[in-house]
């Protein structure tokens, strides 16, 4: 109805795999909240299945994953596959963390829309999500 603000963009922030460092993910979650996003934070050590299932139930517009463990080549494409397999064709999937430049091309081909490395500001990420997340009618 005539709420003045548009419906907030819903973002799932997840930590796939076994690394135990979620400072970055938490800072991002808070930062995005301050930018007006509705952020669902899932916590540490998520399997790709858990992430896809959460994304499905929460009907999010964006899935953002933070990964520092080096297992990104195995885990991130698997999340894309599972999310798409659940019929969420238009959900934006992005990642951040420690990901070597050499892997970026392959990950993008696998369906990771963007990869945010160290030093990226929250403002940049927020802007990217606003520009690229699906908008609902």
């Amino acid at each position: 109805m005539s709420d003045e603000r548009p419906t907030p963009i819903r973002v799932l922030i997840a930590k796939p795999g076994l690394d135990g460092h979620d400072r970055g993910a938490k800072v991002l979650a808070r930062g995005l909240r301050d930018e007006g996003f509705e952020v669902i934070y899932t916590g540490l050590r998520q399997t790709p299945e858990m992430i896809a299932d959460a994304a499905e139930q929460e009907d999010v517009d964006v899935v953002g994953m933070s990964i520092l463990s080096g297992a990104h080549m195995a885990l991130l494409p698997r999340v894309v596959e599972l999310v798409r397999g659940r019929g969420m064709d238009d959900v934006l999937i992005a990642a951040g963390g420690i990901i070597p430049d050499a892997d970026v091309g392959t990950l993008k081909e696998a369906g990771i829309a963007e990869i945010f490395g160290p030093g990226t500001s929250i403002g940049q990420i927020a802007r990217y999500f606003r520009e690229h997340a699906r908008r609902r009618s």
Binding site: M1, S2, D3, R5, T7, P8, A29, R30, L32, R33, D34, E35, G36, F37, E38, V39, I40, Y41, T42, G43, Q46, T47, E49, M50, D53, A54, E56, Q57, E58, D59, R86, G87, M88, R136, S137
Partner: protein, 306 residues
Amino acid sequence: MTDLAALVEAARTGERRPLARLLTAIEAADPGLRRLLPRLFAAGHGAHVVGITGPPGSGKSTLVNALIGEWRRRGRRVGVLAIDPSSPYTGGAIMGDRVRMMEHAADRDVFMRSMASRGELGGLAATTWTAAAALDAGGFDPILIETVGAGQSEVEIARLAETTVVVEVPEMGDEVQAIKAGLLEVADVIAVNKADRPGAQQAARQLRAMMSTAGGRVRRQPPKIIMTTAVSGEGIPALVDEIEAHRREGQSPEQAHERARHQIRRALADVVGRRAAASAAWDATVDAVARREMDPLTAADRLLDS
């Protein structure tokens, strides 16, 4: 464009994707939903709606996680609505209830949704009620509504439930703090969580003493107090038994009627308020009050008459 009617039909199968999308439409108060509401509410199976509320840090999410596990063991399909406040400044929200519940994320017979309150205009009571109706139509029973027990509106949301569980912890402070919080009055069942901590027995004793002398509201008997340690699962079967007993033993017809009236009052006030805010006279009236040309009560009269 989403075909909402098809979504409502598909959500009745309990499938996740259509149900999730229907909840999105409900949260956004999609105008197209209005004519479908009779069908949605009629599709319900009469699920037991259970409110879980308590102060921040009392372990509500962990407790809900344990309750999901116990009800799953009893063969039930469990729906969860976890409600968190939106920032009044940015409209953003951070919802972390899933952190404690991810073990059930992949279970097809558990549906969990995080909802932000989206401010007063969003009509939280009406939205929550409708969202619970959608989960009910999808065959989930019980439906747990988790809210932070801080702030009147959050407590009120828990009261939309048929059974309200208030979660307390041993460190709640002295009994006056517990009374001031105003939570105990709405409790049908009290869970003293983190019962493995020192002072838990004493806290339960204090609560018991308090509840036995509390008067006022129409009630057959004081709420049962159950000791739980959500992390280990201690006391969880007893808590589920007590929640189910509350429904089974039923309320007196007067209590049931009063509760229904309360729920409807809340939801209608939300809806009516939202419609008033959408009326043509709204902005001008707000301006007039801001300029002190009109007092707020006269403004309300004007809006209702217009």
